[in-house]
């Protein structure tokens, strides 16, 4: 056995270890990449469909369309995918692959905003992607509006909110409360506020623009409010054009 205390041995060991581990990780990452991208693509389709009410929810829990069916269902219900750039609206069949986080970081003139128009049972849904900041990390989601700016459904997700607290934004009892809320007050954009002290845990006042906050998750709730208000606002001028 070589003398493992020698400096030269230590250096050689470190170099070899880094090379071996590095190439092992690079190999794993690149060989799994296609499968991971595919999963992420299906997830986005599932989320968009979820917001417009195409899901397999059973009582109380969130259930998406299964991955093997989602591609076909997405084609069936999403009748148009649009991209808004520089005030112009164009069709783009891969708009759902646009990463909103990157787009929001760009200048207004270079920004591409994806928008999805879905149709279910003769009714149109305008599905807007959202992106914002929670307590620990990113939060994002989709919100589906009808032609009167009434929320038809939402989907939220997060990267690292606290389990049992902020992470509950993706639970049914939080997301379902948004359905029926209006984002406009008259002709002005109002957004939706995740409100503490709303005194309305059953969400009986549907159209007050407020939903009941989650206990112990103030910052995440504020993040949801800010996310809805900042991203949806960008789309309002175009939604007006689309409808008439």
């Amino acid at each position: 056995m070589a003398n493992t205390d020698k400096n030269s041995y230590t250096v050689i060991f470190a170099v070899v270890m880094v090379l071996v581990v590095g190439s092992l990780l690079a190999f794993t990452a690149s060989s799994l990449k296609p499968a991971i991208t595919e999963n992420e693509r299906f997830e986005k389709q599932q989320n968009i469909l979820y917001a417009m009410g195409i899901n397999e929810n059973v009582e109380g829990s969130v259930n998406f369309i299964p991955t093997d069916k989602v591609e076909a269902e997405f084609g069936k219900y999403i009748k148009e995918q649009l991209v808004i750039q520089n005030g112009k609206i164009e069709k783009d069949s891969s708009a759902y692959l646009i990463d909103l986080k990157q787009q929001l970081a760009k200048d207004m003139s270079e920004r591409k905003l994806p928008l999805f128009v879905g149709e279910k049972e003769g009714k149109d849904y305008y599905i807007i992607p959202m992106y914002g900041k929670g307590l620990w990390d990113a939060i994002w989601g989709f919100i589906a509006l009808d032609e009167n700016y009434v929320v038809q459904g939402v989907y939220f997700d997060h990267k690292g909110e606290t389990p049992g607290l902020g992470a509950n934004i993706k639970e049914r009892y939080f997301m379902d409360d948004f359905t029926g809320e209006e984002i406009m007050a008259g002709t002005e954009f109002e957004g939706i506020t995740v409100a503490k002290g709303n005194n309305d845990p059953l969400n009986e006042r549907k159209d007050d623009g407020k939903v009941d906050a989650l206990a112990g998750a103030t910052i995440t709730g504020n993040g949801v409010t800010a996310m809805i208000n900042s991203t949806v606002k960008l789309y309002i001028p175009y939604l007006k054009d689309l409808k008439i």
């Binding site: 056995m1 493992t4 060991f13 270890m17 794993t28 799994l32 499968a35 991971i36 389990p163 112990g216």
Partner: protein
């Protein structure tokens, strides 16, 4: 258990009780506080740590004679980090739903002091098979406490277990809530995990007086 000699059996069983990594060695407290608000997260974290510690212990044990002692901690870190990244990628590719539930926890495994502790204290001085048993045993002891804490925190804090409303619906006032029971929101906050762990330590030491240190 006839497969294992008495000594080997001890490697698995001791960490479950009288040499528990959390309640006796007081390692891995950080993750025990962070992720035990829900039972499901506790179980998943326990299984993930079991995998990483079992495999990691074997890898370190196989390399124990060639690792330069000056950089052994770095070598251990590299092994844990590489294993964790591989687990994360494989989950994302083949069990995407599960990897979403795990999200941050997979990364958190790296920081779990039990793992470095077992590498340093056991795997560097023992053969692969015994190291493997030691890894599984310690991870099981860790998982056991996590599950106990997760059970009480979810039950008393949210009134649910694994997401099922076992005590009734707090908003519609059914079940226990109909007679005025309220969830204790404190249980969802991290400090309460420490108190639950403290109660477990107290129960354990009062049942086995040999565990009480003299001072």
């Amino acid at each position: 258990m006839a497969l294992l000699s008495k000594k080997d059996r001890g490697l698995i069983l001791d960490p479950l009780a009288d040499n528990n990594p959390i309640t006796i060695q007081v390692l891995g407290i950080c993750s025990a506080l962070a992720i035990t608000a829900q039972l499901k997260a506790s179980i998943v974290m326990g299984i993930s740590v079991m995998f990483v510690l079992g495999v990691g212990n074997v890898v370190i044990s196989l390399m124990r004679n060639i690792i330069p002692s000056k950089i052994r901690i770095i070598v251990q870190l590299v092994v844990v980090a590489a294993l964790v990244i591989i687990v994360d990628q494989v989950l994302k590719a083949f069990a995407y739903e599960l990897s979403k539930t795990l999200s941050v926890f997979v990364g958190l495994i790296i920081t779990n002091c039990i793992i470095m502790g077992r590498f340093e204290a056991f795997a560097l001085g023992n053969g692969p098979w015994r190291s493997f048993l030691d890894g599984i045993g310690n991870a099981a002891g860790y998982a056991l406490i996590l599950v106990i804490v997760g059970f009480f925190r979810e039950l008393l804090g949210s009134g649910t277990l694994l997401g099922f409303k076992v005590l009734g619906d707090p908003i519609a006032k059914t079940g226990l809530y109909a007679i005025g029971y309220e969830n204790n929101g404190f249980m969802l906050l991290s400090p309460m995990a420490l108190i639950v762990v403290g109660i477990i330590i107290w129960v354990q030491r009062s049942r086995n007086k040999a565990l009480i240190e003299e001072n």
